[in-house]
């Protein structure tokens, strides 16, 4: 986890360039910018907890999206029985999914840490399958979504009319990034996690309890993604396979950012969201939005590897 330290110089330049692009887009395609930031915010928000696990524990958690899906169901049924708004349900979801994450870690992941690396991939694949199928058996494949009138409130700015609520994803992604960065730099556990992520053996030598760190980070990540599931539910339907596309999206986004680089997950998410929204904003080219996602991904990864090799 190199995190913020790497950020300084290059990022300032990047920030200026992006600001310029944003201003241009605001004039040219304002909706693509607004909606791109919103959908990109959702991508980034969901990807952050996965980046945390990948960066510290070193596991590609293929069940990531499934935990989000279960979080959405949790919020839905809590709402049905107690009338709690999904956004409020995020708090109990944090607790419940921290426990679920801890249980998952203790029962499965921990026992596979010493096994060959790819076993953990298959393990989380199995967990994902169990999670999705559990939801299917409990609640069928029929989508569920509560009615919430605030999610379609809109704002008018001059001639522009756009949804205001969806910025909750954009804002949450940035807030979560800041909180996670503070956590990783300022707290004992966070610093331990950083050390473990960089060099587990070295961390062990300086007396960090690796197993406890992994447990904490895994639980934290699942707690977060469970709560994010509740937030996801405010604007999306939940159904058993609702999560799995987001596992792939998150994984792509983290690869785009580079492992351990949390800020780039957020900026990358915004960038991809805006790029997609831009393509979608042209009539007749909407079918190519997926290619944009993948093409940007491949280009960035290849570009970075090329730069590294020549540098």
């Amino acid at each position: 986890m190199r995190l913020l330290r790497r950020l300084r110089r290059g990022q300032v330049l990047l920030l200026l360039v992006s600001l310029g692009v944003l201003v241009l887009m605001m004039l040219w395609k304002p909706y693509a910018l607004i909606e791109g930031l919103q959908r990109g915010g959702l991508y980034a928000l969901i990807a952050l907890p996965m980046a945390l696990i990948l960066g510290v524990v070193g596991i590609i958690n293929l069940a990531h999206g499934e935990f989000m899906m279960l979080g959405a169901y949790f919020a839905y049924w809590l709402g049905v029985y107690t009338g709690l708004d999904p956004l409020v349900a995020m708090i109990p979801a944090l607790v419940a999914f921290a426990l679920l994450g801890a249980a998952t870690y203790l029962l499965t992941i921990r026992r596979a840490l010493k096994a060959p690396e790819l076993n953990q991939l298959l393990l989380t694949f199995g967990v994902a399958m169990v999670g999705a199928e559990f939801a299917n058996l409990m609640w069928t494949s029929q989508p569920l979504k509560p009615h919430l009138s605030y999610v379609y409130s809109s704002m008018t700015l001059g001639k522009l009319r756009f949804g205001a609520y969806a910025f909750v994803y954009t804002v949450s992604a940035i807030v979560l990034l800041v909180l996670l960065s503070l956590f990783l730099r300022r707290t004992r556990l966070g610093r331990a996690a950083l050390a473990v992520g960089q060099n587990p053996r070295g961390a062990k030598l300086v007396g960090i309890d690796i197993n406890r760190t992994y447990l904490a980070i895994f639980s934290l990540s699942i707690a977060l993604v469970g709560a994010i599931g509740a937030m996801f539910l405010t604007r999306n339907s939940v159904f058993p396979s609702a999560g799995s596309p987001y596992t792939m999206k998150s994984f792509c986004l983290i690869a785009l950012a580079g492992i351990g680089n949390l800020p780039s997950v957020v900026w990358g998410g915004f960038g991809l969201g805006i790029a997609e929204a831009l393509v979608l904003s042209f009539r007749g080219y909407g079918g190519w939005a997926d290619v944009v996602f993948f093409a940007v991904l491949v280009a960035v990864i290849l570009g970075r590897s090329y730069r590294r090799q020549t540098a």
């Binding site: 596979a112 169990v130 792939m248 792509c252 690869a255 993948f294 991904l297 491949v298 090799q309």
Partner: protein, 312 residues
């Protein structure tokens, strides 16, 4: 002693070759589909032996399907020719892309191959006049008119060919090259291994195998579509099979594919609603308790029983 070593292989080969003679259409159908997955699992593992985690299996499978079907429909060649063409297209595309993406390692390579597979699907979907767009293309008739025994034998030939290629990889200098690249790429390079050449070669060969499997699948079931031919099933199931069976060997993925193929069908019939839950749980339990996969566990068990008998 030497002959005894080959007995299990001969028995296996005999059973596999004569399978349709003592089983019905249903088992042939199940076995055929399992062998397709086996081919994918084994080819995925062959690339993994170089240390490269490929997520493009479904992509090259779909590419081969489309290439075979489009050649068959537009040029009217023999199905077999079109299947081989599907393999060639997948292999050549992999070769060209490999020149660019094989500088990547680890999850960056994995995610890039996954993205490329996604790009294939979207591009094919966006040229409806050639590819039938989102609906895909249908073949006027299936290969062997759907006769399951012949279909089984065709797939068996592809699977056996893949096993043979895998064994060739295991028994020649390719094995030493790939293992050294996987264990330590710098050591391999400094010892004279042309790492890039080997990676491109393996990537192209395994992708071509996946393309052939795709072509066969398309001809057996008679259609291609972006959703069907590029389904994540063709990535995730082979991956699970290889890992469960035991990676970095020929027989691990083979055993894994046979076991999981049979298991999924068996569970489905026993537990119509919710079999995937059990299937997923079994994967979790097996990988927790047999970290080396089924073949690894079998090796360890055999090693122990050898030791117990005082052999060696």
């Amino acid at each position: 002693m030497r002959i005894a070593r080959y007995v299990p292989y001969l028995v296996g080969a005999a059973v596999a070759a004569t399978f349709p003679l003592f089983s019905g259409a249903y088992l042939e159908q199940v076995a055929g589909a399992t062998l397709i997955y086996l081919t994918l699992a084994l080819s995925w593992d062959m690339l993994l032996r170089s240390g490269q985690l490929g997520f493009g299996t479904a992509g090259f499978f779909g590419l081969g399907s489309y290439a075979a079907v489009l050649l068959f429909l537009n040029v009217g060649v023999q199905p077999f020719v079109s299947i081989i063409f599907g393999g060639i297209v997948a292999g050549v595309v992999a070769l060209l892309l490999g020149l660019a993406v094989l500088r990547l390692r680890g999850m960056y390579f994995a995610i890039t191959t996954l993205a490329l597979a996604g790009i294939f699907a979207v591009v094919l979907r966006n040229f409806p006049s050639l590819t039938g767009g989102a609906e895909g293309k249908m073949l006027p008739s299936c290969i062997f008119s759907g006769d399951t025994a012949n279909v089984y034998w065709l797939i068996l030939v592809v699977a056996v060919m893949t096993i043979v290629i895998s064994e060739v990889f295991e028994r020649t200098r390719i094995h030493v090259a790939l293992t050294s690249i996987r264990n330590d790429e710098r050591v391999a390079k400094s010892s004279g291994v042309n790492v890039f050449k080997y990676l491109v070669f393996v990537f192209a060969v395994t992708s071509a195998i996946q393309g052939i499997a795709g072509g066969v699948y398309a001809h057996v079931f008679g259609f291609v579509s972006p959703e069907g031919s590029f389904s994540a099933n063709f990535l995730l199931l082979p991956l699970a099979m290889a890992l469960l069976g035991g990676i970095h060997s020929t027989w691990g993925p083979v055993i894994g594919a046979l076991v999981l193929g049979a298991l999924s069908e068996y569970l489905k019939l026993q537990i119509p609603y919710g079999h995937l839950l059990v299937y997923g749980a079994i994967i979790v339990v097996v990988i927790l308790f047999l970290p080396q996969g089924l073949s690894g566990a079998a090796r360890a068990w055999r090693g122990r029983s050898h030791a117990a008998r005082g052999a060696r």
